[in-house]
Structure formats: C-alpha cells, structure tokens
C-alpha cells in the first residue's frame, strides 16, 4: 500500500488570517434611544414638579408602624397561603391521577370551581361566610331529621363556636387565597408528576415499593424539577394578590393600611405610590430568591435536585 506514512502527531492546522470587516451599523438604535431618553426625562420632571406626589409626606408615612406591620401581614399571608396551597395541590394532583373515579372527579370539580371564580370575589365571599352559618357546630349530620324520626329528644351536636370568632377576617382571607392557590398548584404538580418517565414507576414497583412509597420517594422528588419554576411565579403572584385581603376586609393588611392613611389625610396619591414601591421591593427580593432556587433546580439536569438533597457534596 502506498500513500503517506501514518504519523502519530495530528497534522498542525495551517496558519490563517483573522477576519477584519466593517461591522453593520444600526442608526435606528440611536433614534430609539433618543426618544426613550426624552420620554424618561419628561417623566422624571413630572415626578419632581407635580405636587400630587408629595414625596416628603410619602416617605414620612411609608415606614410608619401600622404600615410596617401591614408589610409583615402581607408576607405572612403569602407564605402561609403558598404552603397550604402547595399541600392542597399535592393532594388534589394525586387524587386526580389516582385512577379512582370519585377522587378524580372531586379533584376536577374543585379545580374547576376555584380556577373559575376570581380571587377578588372569593375574598369577599369568604369574608361574608358568617351570613351563611352564624355558628359552626360539630356533630352528626342531618340530626334534626333522624333524631325526631327515632323519637329522640334534643340534638346530636357536641360543640359550637361563633363563626366570626373562628373566621376572623385574616383567617377568612387566608382560606380564600390558599384554597384558590391549591387549584393552581394542583395543575402544576400534576404536570410535574406526569413529566416523570413511566419507567421510574415500573422500576420502583418491580422492587416491591407500594404506590404511596413510589410517589413519595421516586415520582414527587423528580417532579420537583418541573414544579419549582412555576411555583416561584405563583409565589410572586400570590404576594400581589394579598392586596385582595383589603376587600375581605383585613384591616391590618398593607394595602388597607396605606389606603386608610391616604383617605384620612386626603393624600391618596402618595400612598398609592407607596403601595407600588412596597410591592415592588418585596417582589424584587422574591425574584432574587427565585433566581437562585431555579439555578439549583435547573430543568433538564438533575444537578439541581442533587445539590439540594446531598448539600452539593460529591
């Protein structure tokens, strides 16, 4: 056989001249930037010259005690309704995928209702539940019918409590938000569970794991990868929706407090600006948190979950 001798070192690349070319120019970018700059300066000018903003007043009241307390109420309502919503969502998603027609239908109906009614309407509705039941009683159902039928005196109720005591505005509002959130989380978690390869369930079942173990140990942890990014969005949306608590009404809540100060002092606009600034500040913090969490649970890679579970050690 002829041809060149095979050599052990790879052939070196030939030297080449780097490309030097005149780049494309984009004059329209400069026009756009100029227009934006003009509009921005008009806006800033208005911020400082229009008296309706009343900046000193806003700064004075934005950090007053009731407002700061309102901030904490808003944060606590966000955290609590998300936690309850996630737990509910897991239960509803598992019911929906259970293959049990009763559970699956109940879950579907729940989701249908709570996704179909606006949160604002739910908030007002839960604020008025006391109209429906003045007291909440614990006992056997339909006792007014069957006790009489059996010829018994009295009733089969063991415990009763005034609805307004149990369902303070805060609790009513929290229920509205978390029950509604449960419906949205159910859909997110269902999509997450369905994204896990069927082979995972089969392998786990073949090892003798029961269905609930498979769910807790194998499918749910893997669903996290898909569930976490939209849950971050839900949390940010929930933070903003806590403003709806003002309509329950929950008087200690941030937006209610800011509006109350505005109404009392006739300085409505500064307080609305204060509300914008507070919500922006808290959502910004949440977005930073979301960025880091999503980086850990990077979709498409198990590096994320791995770091989370073993503390990045391997």
């Amino acid at each position: 056989m002829g041809g060149p001798e095979p050599s052990n070192t790879p052939a070196p690349g030939r030297p080449a001249e780097p490309i030097t070319a005149v780049p494309v120019r984009y004059p329209e970018r400069w026009v756009a930037a100029g227009a934006v700059l003009l509009l921005a300066s008009m806006f800033v000018h208005m911020l400082f010259t229009n008296d309706a903003f009343n900046w000193p007043f806003m700064v004075d009241h934005m950090f007053s005690d009731p407002v700061v307390r309102g901030v904490w109420v808003t944060i606590s309502a966000t955290v609590l309704s998300m936690v309850i919503g996630i737990v509910l969502g897991i239960v509803l998603a598992v019911m929906r995928l259970s293959g049990n027609p009763v559970l699956s239908t109940v879950s579907w109906l729940y989701t249908w209702f709570f996704r179909g009614v606006p949160r604002l309407v739910l908030a007002v509705l839960f604020g008025n539940l006391a109209i429906l039941y003045q007291t909440i009683e614990l006992g056997l159902p339909f006792d007014n019918y069957w006790m009489a039928w059996l010829g018994l005196e009295g009733d089969a109720r063991f415990f009763e409590i005034d609805t307004r005591t149990l369902l303070s505005g805060y609790v009513a509002g929290l229920m509205a938000l978390s029950l509604s959130e449960g419906a949205y989380m159910a859909e997110i978690i269902r999509a997450g569970l369905q994204s896990v390869d069927k082979g995972q369930t089969e392998a786990a079942q073949a090892l003798g794991m029961s269905r609930s173990k498979v769910l807790r140990r194998i499918t749910l942890p893997q669903a996290m990868r898909v569930v976490i990014p939209p849950t971050g969005n839900e949390t940010i949306a929930m933070l903003k929706d806590t403003a709806l608590l003002a309509y329950v009404p929950v008087t200690i809540e941030l937006f209610y407090q800011l509006q109350a100060i505005g109404a009392r002092t006739y300085q409505i606009f500064p307080m609305l600006v204060a509300a914008c600034l507070w919500y922006l500040a808290i959502t910004s913090v949440l977005m930073v948190g979301q960025y880091f969490i999503e980086r850990r649970f990077n979709p498409g890679q198990y590096g994320g979950i791995r770091n989370r579970i073993v503390g990045g050690a391997h």
């Binding site: 090892l207 003798g208 794991m209 140990r217």
Partner: protein, 271 residues
Amino acid sequence: MSEQNESVIETPEGVELPSDALVVAENVHKSFGRLEVLKGIDLQVERGEVMCIIGPSGSGKSTFLRCVNHLEKLTAGRLWVNGELMGYRQKRGKLYELRETEVAAQRSDIGMVFQRFNLFPHLTVLGNIIEAPVQVKRVPKAQATAKALDLLERVGLPDKATAYPDQLSGGQQQRVAIARALAMEPSLMLFDEPTSALDPELVGEVLDVMRDLAENGMTMMVVTHEMGFAREVGDSLVFMDDGVVVEAGDPAEVLGNPQHERTRAFLSKVL
C-alpha cells in the same frame, strides 16, 4: 425447559400446582383491549435454571415478563412464582384480587432489569441500591449500605457508590440496575433485553455480570437477542412468536436444529 413433573404439589391454599418449578405459567393470556398479545403461554422454570426467551419484536416477550411479576394483569390463565399465585388468592375455587401491598410483597421477591435501565436519577448509585431494602424490607441503613458496597464490588463498580446515574456509561448503569435488583435478594431475576440499549463495546461487561449470576445459581428469565449468551449460559431456550411459544428446548438444539419454519425464518435473520 425441563420435563413436565408428574407429581402434584399442594400449595398452602390447597390448590394443585402442576410442579415444584420456581415459575409455572399455565395458559397465560393477555389482551390490551381487543389486541390479544399473549395467546396461551405454558412454561416452567426450575430453580437455578437460566431460561432465555427470543422472538421477533412485538411477539409479546416483554409483556410475558411483566406478567411474571404482575406489572401486567393476566386476562386468563394462572402464573405461580415460588408456589405463590401471582396477584390473586384462590379460595374454594374463587379468585380474590390481592391488595396492592400484597402484590408489592410478591414483587419484592422478583428482581427485574429493564432495557432502558430505569435507575432513579435523583439518587446516587448507593441510594439506588439501598432504596428498596431500606424502604420496603426495613433493613437498617448501615447494613443495607454494606451489602450495597459488596454488590457494587460484584458487578465491578466498587468506586461508583457516590456517582449519579447520569455520570455513568450505559453499561455501568445497567450493572448498577442489576445490583439494585440483587439487593432485595430475589429468588428470580427477570431481564428484558438488558443489552439492547447499549453500545456494542459495552454489551460484554453486562453479559459477564449475568453469566456470573447464572454460575452462582440464580434463576433467570432473560429476553435477549444475544444468541451467544443464550447458547453458552442458557439452560433452556424459548422461541416466541405472535403471542405463543413456538419452540422450546435445549439452546444448542433449538439454535442448531430448529423444528419450525417460523423459528428458522427468525434465526436466519438474527444469526
């Protein structure tokens, strides 16, 4: 496959079992809707026997293996493993479905290895192996870990305990999957085309592990296209086509001197 045993064995439920083989399949049928995939499979696997199952794609090999550990419910027939009727309890001539946890207990005695490995990607190699012993059998974690490390040694991966599945080659993943199944100390191992998803140069390492298992007396049912393995390691060979066992017997006999036209046609394509 071994000869039919004449004696009749009484199971605890008082049901007559045709033999003392580890796996007894009697007229197993399986349909998916209108599609009949298994059309009456009869076979027996003795303790310590390695049975290889070959046949064209779609002939029902996987479905049959999945019937053995009740991942699929039979539509007709009976299937016993280790003297236990899979998935049912028979009482006074009536069949009662077993509870989900009872089926799970039956499955824990049968290891299964899949074509696509199906390792748990969120757990380490060690986590994959100890998961079922700890969660299902309640083996103390330290004990399960020691056992897992032994098993990793046995499948030739002593230094991969802390690795994650996606950091391993296909051949390594499949060997971990075998170790994971062995950790439950099963009396039967099912293999569904364990080397079909592997690059050719990785097939050997998995077959070596399986050969070692066979030599140590494990009862195995292996769906495979590796005729060399079937000939050398298998005690019996079953050729399935279109949901029935067409031909079964000694591997060298079936491969060297097939009796049926369908067997000859299939072998001429794969050999």
